[in-house]
């Protein structure tokens, strides 16, 4: 869900950008018109609109809507003076805050003052009569070297090809906004390594992921089978086949996203916590941790004080999971509940199935295996 919001947001920004450009085009030959540029702030110190064109002498309204969680200003400078102005702003030192980080120099043409997160400020000005590339930049401490863009003042409205535009940050010369996620998404790019090692299943990540609590553990197994075991609820939540995770949203910028499942989910728990020891419904389930056994995770939790260990392997044939349980100190019979609409068939190494519930004697419950197989192909 969050990912979709993020995508929508990006889409909206692109629409804003296109809209801006089209307004500029409409304004050709009509210098009395007001061109509006809606500027937002993207994660990683980026103006949403990295360049735009206006005509000489045209009236321009520039709105800075600070969608970031840091404060920013926006200064428009004379052509070729951006770096100099940033340098002067840095040298303001202790007088910077009172000056709004704007240095006193005739190189500064117009200024949108420091704008706090969620706030907006606007500036209306008459574009210079002289054609040229007029930089805009945030001179907030530390931002100036990364956070800038270019206002093209020209009669023709032409701008250089984006990839060859040296007036915008290098990171913005591609077609992507805020790249660098290490996601091997595009075939023509060499995928950036995700880790200083090549992950070989079984391996795991603790991540935020849909369909589980925020204390989820996602595990990749051999045979392209993966599962999500939830340390917030102490049970297996879902499993999928055909891949593992795409963490590119999660590892991009501030990580305001979730891990995305790659492949298709074939199991989703409908029973909730599946184990009952004795007659009573458990009143307290406590997650204790996990141990790597030949890199497979064996989870440890307590059901009303009784230790339960659950080691999860991929099924040996077909798509599925093998769950090896140990309840070493158990003295009561154990029931393991399943539901018919969970997408899998169940089989057990011991016990008796009764209406979808596996009944085990205390003896059997000390060590048993449940195999879950994906229904259908």
């Amino acid at each position: 869900m969050i990912r979709y919001i993020f995508l929508l947001l990006q889409k909206r920004l692109w629409i804003t950008l296109l809209f801006t450009v089209s307004i500029s085009a409409l304004a050709l030959g009509q210098t009395d018109r007001l061109t509006t540029v809606e500027m937002e702030v993207l994660p990683g110190l980026q103006f949403s609109v990295v360049r735009f064109t206006v005509k000489p002498g045209e009236r321009v309204k520039l709105v800075l809507n600070n969608t970031d969680d840091m404060s920013h200003n926006l200064i428009i400078t004379l052509p070729g003076t951006r770096e100099k102005v940033v340098e002067m702003a840095n040298k303001l030192g202790e007088s910077g805050p009172a000056a709004g980080y704007v240095p006193k120099t005739s190189d500064v043409l117009w200024t949108i003052p420091v704008t706090a997160p969620e706030k907006a400020n606007e500036l209306v000005f008459k574009a210079p009569e002289k054609e040229g590339v007029y930089p805009y930049v945030c001179t907030y401490p530390g931002h100036g070297t990364i956070m800038f863009g270019a206002m093209y003042v020209s009669k023709s409205g032409k701008m250089p090809e984006l990839t060859k535009d040296l007036n915008i940050p290098e990171s913005r010369r591609g077609d992507k906004v805020d790249g660098d996620a290490g996601h091997p998404g595009h075939a023509h790019e060499k995928p950036a390594p995700l880790h200083p090692y090549t992950p070989v299943p079984p391996y795991h990540y603790r991540v935020f992921i849909d369909g589980a609590s925020p204390a989820a553990i996602a595990v990749a197994l051999p045979n392209e089978v993966s599962y999500c075991w939830d340390a917030g609820t102490s049970y297996l939540r879902f499993a999928w086949a055909g891949g593992f995770l795409d963490n590119s949203d999660l590892w991009k910028g501030k990580g305001n996203a979730a891990a995305n499942v790659v492949g298709s989910v074939f199991f989703r728990s409908k029973t909730g916590f599946p184990i009952r020891i004795g007659e009573e419904k458990p009143s307290e389930i406590v997650y204790k941790g996990y141990r790597l056994k030949k890199r497979y995770l064996e989870f440890h939790y307590q059901v009303d004080g009784t230790d339960v260990y659950e080691l999860i392997h991929e099924a040996t044939d077909g798509t599925g999971l093998e769950r090896i349980f140990r309840i070493p100190e158990v003295t009561d019979p154990v029931t393991f509940y399943t539901a018919s609409d969970e997408g899998v068939t169940y089989a057990a190494s011991a016990g008796v199935w009764k209406g979808g519930a596996l009944q085990l004697t205390a003896d059997q419950a000390r060590s048993f295996t449940i195999t879950m197989k994906k229904i259908g192909k």
């Binding site: 202790e94 706090a116 200083p196 603790r206 990580g255």
Partner: protein, 494 residues
């Protein structure tokens, strides 16, 4: 042992007084080569008893680094944004990650952790991206302190959360425009006692990305400028107190005052405890991170016992000089090191056994950098402000070296201004009531190291910013830093 080091240090300083110290940079910055393929966003940095570095990274790796062979080794993986490590032994550590505090242990001696044991998860998580957790820092009794970030207004709560939801912990009227605390103890500093129970200690934190415990078990926490935080502070954290960000108050035991964001500003202001140190925004630091005490016994230079704090938004390490006035901590902050090859994003600091200061960098989508650097004391004594202390009518500055008389005695070389920051729901605060304060008298001690400055006025509740003029040392070497800011909460009683 400590006394011995102090004696050595004093000896060194005395020696420095009598002979002309060698000129040159007192500190150098070295880069540590990171393993290929690692996204070196550093969340945690410590040293093992065997002298190896151990570091946690945003994508969940915990790695060790042999400082002799310069080899990296993977110790653990798959963690959820590890942001703090406590070292138990060479093969056992505690790691603070987003969902829990976890014990990682290599039980079979193969050099990698095989046990990932929960130590505590007795706090809520909504799945908001900003629910960072910091620490653990141990005190002399063996109890641990952790700090829990408030949730960000820039993000949401996930559909499924961990912990009881209380929506009064967020600003209801404006949606969630301010950082919030809708599950237990977001925005709190917590204490884990040896029995495994996690206790709430103090509320009111926004983004407390730095926690340290001193030799007397005082807990200090940094916070980040933003809503309700006019400028980034260092707090002395005491049980039961409130440090300013309202949302977390809903988790106070017996809280019956409704949505804390609805309380009158005066009420909130009267409830809060002020920072021991304010880092003036845009001047000293915009995003202070982990504080560490210099306990190197002089191996890192003359600042033994003082605090060093990373700064995320510029190439800077900040130094803090604390003192107790009327039983309360306050004091001064000063840039310790600017540039010299240091990067931005100085997120985690740790002293190595050899006394060098290791710095782990992080950006995490904000302004910063990646990698690890090491700051080494060259043995050349810096010319710097050693301490800044309050007097009844001004301040006393002690320098690390004897200073040149005429310059040190010239009142024009001490330009004071003072200002304060507003406490309000807005994001940050401009400087308020900014005013220059004249120096009315200057005295220099016989050893030429201490100047006593009388000011025309002293008003509590203000930051006193001092800009030093060109005051060279007795041997003509320039001062390293000319800016020092004292947070005046308490006046000295006559």
């Amino acid at each position: 042992m400590e006394r011995f080091f102090l004696a050595v240090l004093l000896g060194l300083l005395t020696a420095a007084c009598s002979t002309r110290p060698e000129p040159g940079e007192a500190y150098i910055v070295e880069n540590i080569e990171m393993p290929e393929g690692l996204t070196s966003q550093v969340g945690a940095l410590e040293f093992l008893p065997n002298g190896k570095l151990i570091a946690g990274f945003t994508r969940g790796e915990v790695m060790t680094y042999d400082t002799t062979t310069k080899e990296w080794h993977l110790f653990a993986e798959g963690l959820h944004d590890p942001l703090g490590i406590h070292v138990v032994s060479n093969d056992e550590i505690l790691v603070m990650q987003l969902p829990e505090l976890t014990r990682l242990k290599d039980t079979d001696g193969d050099g990698t952790a095989d046990l990932y044991e929960k130590v505590t998860d007795a706090f809520g998580v909504t799945g908001n991206y900003h629910e960072f957790n910091y620490g653990p820092e141990i005190d002399s009794k063996g109890d641990f302190y952790i700090a829990l970030n408030s949730s960000s207004s820039g993000g949401t709560m996930r559909d499924e959360v961990r912990g009881t939801i209380n929506l009064e912990g967020r600003d209801g009227e404006t949606g969630n425009r301010q950082m919030f605390s809708t599950v237990p103890y977001r925005g709190w500093v917590m204490k884990l006692t040896k029995d495994g129970v996690l206790h709430p200690v103090a509320a009111g934190f926004r983004s407390p990305n730095g926690i340290v415990v001193d030799n007397e078990d005082n807990v200090f926490v940094t916070d980040n400028q933003g809503d309700w935080v006019g400028t980034s502070p260092l707090f002395h954290v005491e049980p039961g107190k409130f440090y300013g960000h309202p949302g977390s108050l809903v988790w106070t035991k017996g809280w019956n005052r409704g949505n804390p964001f609805r309380l009158p500003l005066d009420t909130l202001d009267s409830m809060r405890t002020r920072p021991a140190i304010c880092f003036p925004h845009g001047i000293l630091a915009n995003s202070p991170s982990q504080p560490v005490f210099d306990r190197t016994g002089g191996k890192f230079g003359p600042f033994e016992g003082q605090l060093f704090i990373g700064e995320m938004n510029r190439e800077r390490i900040v130094r803090v000089m604390l003192e107790k006035v009327n039983g309360k901590f306050q004091g001064a902050c000063i840039p310790f090191l600017d540039s010299l090859g240091l990067r931005k994003g100085n997120n985690r600091l740790v002293f190595a056994p050899d006394g060098s200061l290791w710095v782990g960098q992080n950006a995490h989508g904000w302004l910063g950098d990646v990698g690890i650097q090491r700051i080494v004391f060259t043995g050349k004594q810096p010319v710097d402000v050693y301490t800044m202390k309050l007097t009844t009518d001004g301040f006393q500055l002690t320098f690390t070296q004897p200073m040149q008389d005429t310059a040190a005695l010239n009142p024009e070389n001490y330009l004071f201004s003072r200002y304060y920051y507003l406490y309000h729901h807005n994001y940050g605060s401009p400087q308020q009531d900014l005013e220059k304060i004249p120096v009315t008298a200057v005295k220099l001690s016989d050893d030429k190291k201490t100047v006593t400055l009388q000011l025309a006025s002293l008003t509590p509740g203000y930051v006193y910013e001092l800009n030093l003029g060109n005051i060279p040392s007795k041997w003509g070497q320039p001062l390293r830093n000319s800016l020092v800011c004292y947070t005046l909460n308490e006046l000295l009683n006559n």
